[in-house]
């Protein structure tokens, strides 16, 4: 198929200020008998931040993203999207939909026509579309605009979706598992491009990913969802301060563990590193440092695993 729409050659207008979002008691059911995909979810996404949206498979991340982008309506509860002070229901609201971009895994693209046709359609609808950025990103990801997405590898197709998301310059841009199939160099090229463009054109980014170790450095806020419920939604620094990691001589480290909940433990010869859950007071921190231990924050991934662990069923899955 062949698109007839052509991208505007004039400079795109300046995007409005970054969009935020609020969900209040949101429930989404896909069928009358189904479990809720979102079950009373309440959270706020701050405008102008990069928010990590974390959850296990089936936790409700994709459903949440679909609500923000007005792909569907909630069964109950309220969803509001917009600039600070102008939050509105995004569903069938052209002001919202034109300023929110959701890139789903493998993207919403025409698989059986040239990649350029898809880009032309996005360019025709997106008021802040940056065709030059799209071209640069396709070049960086080694994607020919003449190639059909159905003929691309999964990684290239994901990279194509990532390029669309960045080039849209939408005040709220959501990437839902967009990295799938991308090799490591492509993923890091995407992260770098995202950060560079975010710095140059501030907006709100929501990034859903399972590769938490890789992307947590980008997060300013973190939302963790499990079984349709929001477990936490707070700045990444607060998340990291929910625990502490101690590194040093094993015997010394064990002295500070002292009945605390251990999230992770590693040992190499006489050196140990433990990740502890729970607040670590200023005095304790000073004591640990004074004793020669290295005190660090908790990796988001360790905390995420701890919060979403299901002892019985996880063993079943592992089997």
């Amino acid at each position: 198929m062949n698109a007839r729409t052509a991208p505007s050659t004039s400079a795109p207008p300046s995007p409005p200020e970054p969009f935020g979002a609020q969900l209040r008691d949101v429930v989404v059911r896909y069928g009358s008998d189904d479990d809720a995909a979102l079950d009373g979810a309440t959270l706020t996404i701050r405008p102008g931040t990069i928010t990590g949206l974390l959850g296990r498979n089936g936790a409700g991340k994709t459903t949440l993203a679909a609500l923000l982008a007005a792909f569907r309506r909630p069964t109950s509860g309220t969803v509001r999207v917009g600039a600070d002070g102008e939050l509105e229901d995004p569903f069938e609201n052209p002001w919202s939909t034109t300023h929110v971009q959701l890139v789903r895994e493998s993207g919403d693209v025409w698989g059986d026509s040239k990649a350029k046709d898809t880009l032309d359609y996005y360019a025709a609808l997106r008021p802040h579309w940056d065709a030059d950025l799209a071209a640069r990103l396709l070049d960086e990801f080694e994607i020919s605009p003449r190639k059909h997405p159905d003929q691309m590898s999964r990684g290239k197709r994901s990279a194509f979706g990532a390029a669309i998301g960045l080039a849209s310059r939408a005040p709220l841009t959501i990437f839902d598992e967009v990295y799938l199939g991308m090799d490591a160099p492509s993923r890091y090229a995407f992260y770098d491009a995202l950060l560079a463009d975010y710095a140059e054109h501030p907006r709100t980014i929501v990034l859903s990913s399972h590769l938490i170790d890789e992307v947590e450095r980008l997060f300013e806020d973190v939302v963790v969802i499990d079984r349709g419920k929001v477990l936490l939604a707070e700045p990444a620094e607060d998340v990291r301060s929910r625990g502490v990691s101690l590194t040093g001589p094993a015997e010394l480290v064990e002295r500070f563990v002292d009945g605390r909940e251990v999230l992770a433990r590693q040992r190499l010869g006489g050196t140990a590193q433990v990740t502890l859950f729970g607040a670590f007071g200023t005095d304790e921190r000073a004591a640990a440092t004074g004793a020669g231990l290295e005190v660090g924050s908790v990796p988001v991934q360790d905390l995420f695993v701890h919060l979403t662990r299901r002892p019985g069923s996880d063993r079943e899955e592992a089997r």
Partner: protein, 270 residues
């Protein structure tokens, strides 16, 4: 990480936003129309090429056998609406998710499809009328009978205006009827979509009865006692059929929840 709702925007800001939202709507309508019409004609070129070759071949064979019948050639040209019915099923299915993902609304998509129905209907109607007129000219010039036994509203291709009117309404209605079937399945799944099929074909049947054209339109018009209705009544019936199809398109798109990517990909692949 908590902010609460803030005061409503000023009147000036609200007006500015309304203007931007209206511009976004226009962009959505235009993009959907341009793509749907573009694809329909991109594929339609092949339909017309094949239809003309088949029509010419039939004509040559009949001429060699010494028995030239205008209805045999008309049948090929008259099938444009069925071709558009199929494209009405295929084209919007490949567009709906991408349109919303690109920031369009269901409303702008609906309006784009309505406009596409009009443009596609009139342009295909023009093509049918042009081919019909050429056929009439050829038949008249060679002394063959140029009058079709199938049509009631127009006797032959010389009635260009009437052919254009009838074929435009039929093509536009069939295109939108195809859209209703496709989006019915997208919206309601297999069983719900199948249940919607009889509803979706009502506008097409109404157009056939009103316009009394084609193979089964005349029979249906006879059956319901509408055969011989004047042109103005037939036109009103055709317009009512198109309007009904347009309303059904709006109904199936209203509040439509987008399916997961895998579903969209599977329907796009057919």
């Amino acid at each position: 990480m908590s902010t609460e709702t803030h005061p409503r925007p000023s009147a000036e800001r609200a007006a500015e936003r309304a203007a931007l939202a209206a511009a976004a709507h226009r962009r959505g309508v235009r993009a959907a129309t341009e793509y749907a019409v573009g694809v329909t004609w991109y594929v339609g070129i092949w339909f017309w090429a094949i239809a003309i070759v088949v029509g010419a071949t039939i004509l040559v064979v009949m001429q060699r056998n010494g028995d030239v019948d205008v209805d045999a050639v008309n049948s090929v040209m008259d099938s444009a609406r069925f071709f558009l019915f199929v494209l009405g099923i295929v084209v919007p299915l490949s567009m709906v998710a991408l349109h919303v993902a690109a920031g369009g609304t269901r409303r702008s998509f609906t309006h784009g499809l309505w406009l596409s129905g009009v443009v596609v209907g009139v342009s295909y109607g023009l093509a049918v009328a042009a081919v019909g007129w050429f056929q009439w000219w050829l038949f008249t010039r060679n002394g063959w009978s140029a009058t079709s036994a199938q049509h009631q509203l127009y006797a032959d291709g010389s009635e260009v205006g009437l052919v254009l009117l009838v074929q435009s309404l039929l093509c536009a209605t069939y295109f939108l009827a195809g859209v209703v079937i496709a989006l019915g399945y997208y919206r309601a799944g297999f069983w719900g979509g199948t249940a919607l099929v009889p509803v979706a074909v009502v506008p097409a049947a109404l157009a056939e009865i009103s316009l009394q054209s084609g193979w089964f339109g005349r029979a249906l018009a006879d059956w319901v006692g509408l055969a011989g209705a004047p042109v103005w009544a037939a036109t009103l019936g055709g317009l009512a059929a198109f309007t009904l199809a347009a309303l059904l398109v709006r109904a199936v798109l209203r509040n439509l929840a987008l399916r997961p990517v895998e579903f969209a990909a599977s329907v796009a692949r057919g």
